[in-house]
């Protein structure tokens, strides 16, 4: 029996804010789980399984999904937690439906980094004998990647700041991200040092929020949704834990994940109309653009300008990084741009590339292709 095709039926997300001080995790989660069904005709009773992503370390409790089951709508349902970005939760869910064991799945990811210390969250992921004591962590990894990238590409800090400012402006225009003061390139350059040569504003900004994505087998997706985006390719690949041992100047695991997804889809990056890409810093985003085949090495910045493939029209991860949910937000953004082109001014795209990442220095990468 052929594998089933899987479509995105509906998406919902909260506003992304530096801090949702007046909401708990369960408030954010139940909000998106309730909203995602609106207008679809489906209810929580139609959902066969729920897969969620979040971080116990950020949440400050062990197996934190156990306390969130009710808000997730998972009471007496099959539920699984993926301790990685929500795009992997979607990968898991899509495969369950493709394999024929289920027909409707709910994928949820959430984040409240405002309640915790994000540096400590990343430190907890670093090797404890050799690296943690010397202060090598997420920021140092990105700083080293950036120092190498600038040396190799000939770009300046000003070039990076221009891209960051564009991303924040796009996020502000989307209305989905809370931004008090929109930084221009000068403000990006003037921000405090994050990890030389990167300023703090050149790093993805941690934000609170939640996202839900309802997926279904093709026949159900077509019945329920006017113009569902179908997931036609998926790939995932993890690099070695040691940042120093990875290929310098290239996100090899993102390239491997992309090759896997494009092979499934039967097309490649040149055929895409839009791309929604994650990055733990502006350098991470540029390296991801190149690894996904959207630009040659060192040319990621020009790919963001030439308009061949519209990259991160949502603003991407730099202005809004709900850690563990960022990749699933990219999937939600891309599927809306494909399914409801009326709601965003970008023509009528038909193919999208979606990218999520996890780990220190973007060790782990996941790529989806979407089509309408």
């Amino acid at each position: 029996m052929a594998l089933s095709k899987v479509g995105v039926v509906a998406t919902a997300q909260t506003e992304f804010r530096p801090a949702w001080n007046n909401a708990q995790h369960i408030d954010l989660i139940s909000s998106v789980v309730t909203s995602v069904f609106k207008g679809s005709g489906l209810t929580i009773d139609d959902v066969d399984f729920i897969i969620d992503s979040g971080s116990d370390v950020l949440d400050g409790r062990s197996i934190s999904n156990c306390g969130f089951l009710g808000a997730l709508g998972a009471h007496h349902k099959e539920e699984a937690r993926v301790e990685e970005d929500g795009l992997w939760a979607a990968l898991y869910g899509v495969n369950k439906i493709r394999a024929g064991s289920s027909s409707v799945g709910l994928i949820v990811a959430y984040s409240k980094p405002s309640e915790s210390n994000v540096d400590l969250y990343w430190n907890a992921q670093v090797e404890p004998f050799y690296q943690r004591p010397v202060g090598f962590g997420q920021r140092a990894a990105n700083g080293i990647m950036a120092q190498r990238y600038l040396a190799d590409s000939g770009l300046s800090s000003r070039d990076l700041a221009d891209l960051v400012a564009d991303r924040w402006a796009a996020a502000a225009a989307s209305g989905k991200v809370s931004i008090d003061a929109l930084p221009d390139a000068d403000a990006v350059l003037a921000a405090k040092e994050g990890a030389a040569p990167l300023t703090e504003l050149m790093f993805a900004r941690p934000v609170d929020g939640a996202v839900a994505v309802l997926i279904a087998r093709e026949d159900i997706a077509r019945r329920v949704s006017r113009n569902p985006a179908f997931i036609t390719g998926m790939g995932t690949s993890m690099d070695t834990h040691s940042v120093a041992a990875r290929e310098a100047g290239r996100l090899s695991s993102a390239a491997t994940a992309a090759a896997m997804a494009y092979r499934n889809a039967g097309w490649t990056s040149a055929d895409a109309d839009i791309a929604e890409i994650s990055g733990s810093s502006v350098i991470g985003e540029l390296l991801a653009i190149e690894a996904l085949g959207l630009a040659a090495a060192g040319k990621g910045l020009s790919a963001t300008r030439d308009g061949k493939v519209a990259i991160n029209r949502s603003g991407g991860a730099l202005p809004a990084d709900p850690i563990m949910a960022t990749g699933l937000v990219r999937l939600a953004e891309a599927s809306r741009q494909l399914s409801q082109p009326e709601t965003s001014s970008g023509g009528a795209p038909s193919r999208a590339i979606v990218h999520g990442a996890g780990g220190v220095g973007m060790q782990n990468n996941c790529v989806f292709t979407l089509e309408v």
Partner: protein, 308 residues
Amino acid sequence: MFSAPDSYPIDLPTFHSEINLPYTLTPGRAAGIFLAEVKNRRIVASRFASGQVVAPAQDFSSTNGEEPEAFVEAPQTGVLTAFTRVDGHVIGFIRLDGCDNDFAHRILAELDDIAIGQRVEAEWDDSVEQSVLAIKGFRIAPDAPVGTVKPLETMEEPLGVIPYAMKLDYEHAYGPYYGRMFDEIRENGRFMGVRSPGSDIALLPPREIDDVTHGRTGTWKACADTGTIRGCSIINMEVYGQTRKVPYVYAEIVLDGASTRMIHVIEIDSLEEAKERIKPGTRVRAVWTQGERQGRVSDIERFEVIEG
């Protein structure tokens, strides 16, 4: 949002919480020997069958999982291959002479004074033992001669365990429902829940969405501070993280008017007596703390059995 958080502005502070986790980390053979050998001012590396040398020592190749054929001594000199600065500390990748990987460590120089390709050498810190920080960092050494990897004929026993602690601080938001519940505890000394959809029985703690039906919950309802034990266990064993002296009873109590179990404790004097008196079905009442209430579950000091 579905309905609540923005429509109920609240000005409660966040709830501070700490997680302190003690660990005894096991470094294994390679890192164990490396950390034991720093007192001899030696940098232990791994040599693989391919001839590759990796420093600091690893039990497995991080790229292909291969085990090393020998531990060797790496030279204390090398070349800077990448660098950054985080919180004022310069951190770099160092390719030690004769080695095939980069060693991440501190660079003892100002950012403006360093460049890729510069020669560096290790500077030791006599006050540090059993840590990679026994190497204080690497200083710029333009004239340092190129070192060679040497065999390690004898070596220290690997360190067995390394004590380690992780402390994580949190500022948890209450949200509108927990916010009102704790407000009511503090201001009025009462437990407020919300009604289950289509029912008069309250859910405690209150929430916007019913866990079972995923329907919207109903109006607020005050519950009594008396209730019935529905599950309990006499705790007579000391474990890490306990906040009370044993013995005591851990009890799941359904307050009158509520449908959900609340976890609290009942103090006891005698184990034998507790076994007789405290069991599912036993009626209990809250004993509130003396003095000003804080708006916490601990405003109830304990529960006690209602006699008769």
